[in-house]
């Protein structure tokens, strides 16, 4: 998921940075004092998630957790993912500082979409629905991120269909895994700490 430096052309980098800047501004505006600890915890989770690899043939892919961040944080997923990626770039040399904007948008954009599609279900009293929506959020976020990544690579001369095929296939196991993780995480949080999800009604 992390595009290295020197792969993309400047216009793509600038466009990604601009979209990310807008998203981060929106996220910071929507963040209030009560949600900051929640954002911090999920940023930490995102930061560490990339270290969990999913072995796959000759290569390996890693967890992203952008679906989880999207469904729980909403617009605050933008600043969260930006901070997580910046630290990954600085400390692990994953991705790079020039590709920070593009990489953030690739992961945070689908997260926001998942928030609008599935976020409302968190207040549902029907646990089955919550689980289904959580799974979809984890699954869809990775799928869309792979497609966005393929889209960015068009400008480097790769054919979209081919890049998309490779990326989606490579991330297929991650999609299922993330779907399961988001579903389990939400079920767990709903039970022990519903206030972390911003849900005020008592669990059960």
């Amino acid at each position: 998921m992390h595009i290295s430096e020197g792969v993309l052309s400047p216009p793509v980098l600038v466009a990604g940075a601009a979209l990310t800047a807008a998203g981060v501004a929106m996220g910071l505006k929507k963040m209030d004092n009560e949600s900051i600890p929640r954002v911090a915890v999920l940023t930490a989770a995102f930061f560490v998630a990339s270290l969990i690899r999913v072995p796959l043939g000759p290569s390996a892919v890693h967890l992203v957790l952008n679906g989880l961040l999207g469904i729980v944080l909403g617009w605050a997923a933008f600043p969260a993912i930006l901070v997580g990626l910046a630290l990954q770039a600085l400390l692990f040399q994953f991705g790079g500082l020039t590709t920070l904007g593009v990489n953030t948008f690739i992961m945070a954009g689908p997260a926001i979409l998942c928030y609008y599609l599935f976020g409302r279900s968190l207040t549902s009293k029907h646990p089955g629905l919550v689980t289904a929506m959580a799974f979809s959020s984890g699954f869809l976020a990775i799928l869309l991120s792979s497609l966005l990544l393929a889209l960015c690579l068009i400008f480097t001369g790769e054919s979209f269909l081919q890049a998309a095929k490779v990326l989606v296939l490579a991330h297929l196991p991650v999609m299922f895994l993330e779907g399961l993780i988001v579903a389990f995480c939400l079920a767990f949080l709903m039970k022990v700490k519903p206030e972390l999800l911003g849900v005020t009604h008592a669990a059960g």
């Binding site: 911090a40 270290l51 690899r53 072995p55 390996a60 040399q93 646990p127 690579l153 995480c185 039970k191």
Partner: protein
């Protein structure tokens, strides 16, 4: 149903999350991560060896390698073998930029300087040859300079091999615990700072509205 703590499914979910956390911590050392590719290159004799690998040491197999000179002209290209290695004869004694592309969106480069490549050439530079000729002249068994050079090169390659191996291995290590814990610390600190500023602003606003309220009452 799912939220009922007595339900076995929920207990199962908790178990899975705990297991995942355990796996994370256990698997932190020596792993493969597909978000970065490393390149390392070294000179042996008149050959340059290139090695591509992911953090944790897994080889970047069958990856395209391109070699550019300092002016950015592509000199040659090839692919790494199943050991993640690629070698080529030194094409020119100048700075070489070796670019390795691994899969989609992953790319890295390594620069081999002219000094590294030209190590053997400096030996046969004119002044050195003259001095050695003077020294060699009185002795009956004259040593061929070319032969001497090859011998020194071979000996150096042999002696340097463990050092290069050490450098290769050190570079293969993935992110350490220090970086991970440090990163989490940064995140908590950053958001703590944000919270501090936000709450200060809120308090100021609260004070101002309180004063305004008093003024209205008076």
């Amino acid at each position: 149903m799912l939220l009922d703590s007595r339900h076995p499914f929920t207990r199962g979910a908790t178990l899975v999350i705990n297991a995942l956390l355990m796996i994370t911590f256990l698997s932190l050392a020596s792993q493969v991560w597909a978000h970065k590719v490393n390149v390392f290159a070294w000179v042996e004799g008149d050959m340059v060896f290139v090695e591509g690998y992911y953090p944790g040491g897994k080889k970047a197999q069958n990856s395209p390698v391109e070699v550019y000179n300092s002016a950015g002209v592509k000199l040659l290209e090839g692919r790494t073998n199943e050991k993640g290695e690629f070698s080529f004869k030194i094409p020119a004694k100048e700075d070489l930029r070796i670019v390795l592309t691994a899969g989609v969106a992953h790319k890295n480069d390594f620069i081999i300087t002219a000094a590294e490549l030209g190590l053997s050439e400096s030996l046969s530079d004119a002044p050195v040859t003259k001095i050695s000729e003077k020294v060699a002249a009185p002795s009956s068994a004259t040593v061929d300079m070319g032969q001497l050079e090859v011998m020194i090169d071979q000996a150096l390659d042999r002696k340097l091999k463990p050092v290069i191996q050490l450098i290769r291995n050190t570079r293969k290590e993935g992110p350490g615990v220090t970086e991970i814990i440090g990163g989490i610390g940064y995140i908590l600190g950053l958001f703590g700072l944000l919270m501090y500023f936000k709450s200060r602003k809120d308090r100021e606003r609260g004070q101002r509205s309180a004063e305004y309220g008093q003024a209205v009452i008076i």
